[in-house]
């Protein structure tokens, strides 16, 4: 939620409100949502590794990999708008790294319609395609898999409980602390005239107050968790249909990974 008033422009809570949209997407019930989390997680990792393994000039080999997100996005009812919104913040760094290729690599490499493309232009394009595909694949994973489902899978894979609790608590309290920060920020802005953002000399006390409030909240969270029988583990044991991986899931995993790897070998 961006406010038209420029005084609020230095606070960026819209990143957290985007989480709610992701949660809603993950609650969907499509054929992709029903696939076992292990399959989605493994396929995503294999896909991203294969995508980044392409040589810097191999655009021809990379382009077929658009099939994966192009099929999964509509099948999982992930809005195209969400894909676009997700890509924007992810692209500046690859863009920065890629632009240098255009500047430093000027050897002509390929002729298209009488225009010579330099190696730099081609490797720049391949970096941007890789950035697009890898970010897109991770979005599809989290847009079709809830946080608790993902945590359960990580736990089943042997990630320690402490790390899972850490991950979940941080995730769950993002919105709460963002609200706290926003309330403090609005008060600050309303008390001070004609400034954008917080002055550096006030930042210490401001962030310090936020910090103390966070710790107090953490103590209350801990007490409440203790009252409800928290014993160091956050997750209920895996149960139900998604708990165990079935033959169709394994077949799906095999088919997707085989397709990804065969395509790599062919190019």
């Amino acid at each position: 939620m961006r406010r038209p008033d420029s005084a609020f422009s230095a606070f960026k809570p819209e990143r957290v409100s985007g989480l709610k949209a992701l949660e809603l997407m993950a609650e969907g019930d499509t054929v992709i949502h029903r696939v076992h989390t292990f399959v989605k997680l493994t396929a995503t990792i294999v896909y991203v590794v294969v995508v980044i393994s392409f040589g810097r000039y191999d655009i021809g080999g990379l382009l077929p990999y658009f099939l994966y997100p192009a099929i999964l996005t509509p099948l999982s009812d992930t809005p195209w708008r969400a894909v676009w919104r997700r890509l924007l913040p992810a692209l500046p760094f690859p863009l920065l790294g890629g632009v240098s290729n255009i500047i430093f690599d000027k050897a002509p490499m390929i002729m298209i319609g009488g225009v010579a493309l330099t190696g730099g232009v081609i490797s720049f394009a391949s970096i941007m395609i890789k950035a697009l595909l890898s970010v897109w694949a991770v979005l599809l994973l989290v847009a079709t898999t809830g946080v608790s489902e993902l945590s359960r899978q990580l736990s089943a894979l042997g990630v320690p409980d402490a790390a899972i609790v850490q991950f979940n608590l941080t995730y769950r309290y993002l919105a709460v602390l963002a609200d706290e920060a926003r309330a403090m920020y609005e008060s600050y802005i309303l008390r001070s005239a004609d400034i954008r953002g917080i002055r550096v000399r006030d930042m210490g006390a401001f962030v310090g107050t936020l910090l103390l409030r966070s710790i107090d909240r953490a103590e209350r969270v801990y007490a409440a968790m203790k009252c409800r029988g928290f014993s160091g583990s956050y997750l209920a044991p895996a149960h139900g249909a998604r708990g165990k991986i079935g033959a169709p899931d394994l077949l799906c995993l095999f088919a997707v990974c085989a397709a990804i790897i065969i395509l790599r070998c062919l190019s």
Partner: protein, 356 residues
């Protein structure tokens, strides 16, 4: 400073993942030992919930952009040293790792395969190099606003500089971009020096505030001074871990440094065949050279000079027009498939809605 998947090779990302997972395991073990020893905040199993909420705090704090005086631009804090000073280095490292995983999965900040790099660049240096080697030694001189400020600024700047240097090394070792080492370094280091200075001042402000309000919360003002923690956090031990990590990374990187020539050398290598071709142009030699050094696209002269032997030289570079055309066709196919499925599902939804 978040690395992207697109700038990494699978080998570098695998190496950094192994290093970061190792550091995470080490932190988890040390944290457990600290808890058994009963240090503040970790006297019982309370540390984990506190760490979780502190992770969320880092997010919230990063949403507040501060104005950088006299520049009109703004930045936000990273939080590594702040967390280390509050939670101790091991808990801080685990907390930062969780923050980075969430940033990667839900905010597209840094890639999935780049997680190892990002955890190392932004977490390891702050928690295991800058904090024990710079922050704590300065604080040993005495608790006070001046020492806190000096320690914060020095350690934040050092942590960020090391991190930025790592970004440069990892990018070069991956061999995906053409940026020459020196240029890249000149781009990364001064920017992070400025960011580090301001973040250091803010970190100092926060720590001074906490010291005045709730000094018992600070890692470095723990009751009993540095006594009880000394064994867990000894200088020699930290240095050993640091050296092992450095050797591991150095070894890994040198393997790749020999496989891929330096970025600048490489671009010189790449421009060599084109200057050879241009020599056949004769009279245009000088003009073409000037143009080549200023233009992004090469001149038309290349087209006529290259003529017939385009096929062989392009095949050697591993890219051909035919390969690109084939790839483009699959891209079109992917778009068509995506569009057809979208339309199909939309129709189905509309029918379902009409029926309901």
């Amino acid at each position: 400073m978040h690395m992207a998947d697109a700038l990494l090779s699978p080998a570098v990302s695998a190496a950094m993942t192994v290093v970061s997972v190792g550091a995470l395991g080490y932190s988890a073990v040390m944290l457990k030992k600290e808890e058994e020893r009963g240090v503040p905040l970790g006297a019982d199993d309370r540390k984990v919930p506190v760490m979780g909420v502190m992770g969320a705090f880092v997010f919230a704090a990063q949403m507040i952009n501060f104005t950088i005086p006299a520049t009109g631009s703004s930045g936000h804090i990273g939080g590594g040293i702040l967390l280390a000073a509050m939670l101790g280095p091991h808990a801080a490292f685990l907390t930062l790792a969780a923050v980075l995983v969430i940033q990667c999965l839900f905010f597209a900040d840094g890639g999935l395969m780049a997680l190892g790099c990002n955890i190392f660049n932004m977490g390891f240096y702050a928690c295991f190099a800058a904090y024990p080697l710079i922050f704590k030694p300065i604080m040993k001189l005495g608790l006070g606003a001046k020492n806190i400020t000096a320690a914060s600024v020095a350690s934040v700047v050092a942590g960020l500089q090391l991190g930025a240097f790592s970004v440069v090394l990892e990018t070069l070792a991956s061999g995906v971009t053409e940026l020459p080492f020196g240029t890249f370094l000149l781009l990364m280091m001064p920017i992070h020096l400025a960011i580090g200075a301001i973040e250091g001042v803010i970190t100092a402000g926060v720590l001074c505030f906490v010291m005045n309000m709730r000094p018992e919360l600070l890692d470095f003002s723990a009751p009993g001074g540095f006594g009880p923690r000394k064994a867990a956090l000894s200088f020699g031990r930290t240095l050993m871990v640091l050296l092992t990590m450095a050797a591991l990374i150095g070894g890994g990187l040198s393997l790749y440094a020999s496989a891929y020539p330096d970025g600048l050398e490489w671009s010189i290598e790449k421009t060599a065949p084109s200057s050879e071709l241009e020599r056949t142009g004769g009279a245009y030699d000088t003009a073409a050279k000037i143009q080549e050094s200023t233009a992004i696209m090469p001149d038309y002269e290349f087209k006529s000079a290259a003529g017939g032997d385009t096929g062989s030289s392009f095949a050697a570079a591993g890219t051909s027009a035919a390969g690109l055309a084939g790839g483009t066709m699959t891209l079109v196919l992917a778009c068509a498939v995506g569009w057809i499925i979208t339309m199909f599902r939309k129709n189905k939804r509309e029918k379902d809605n009409a029926a309901a």
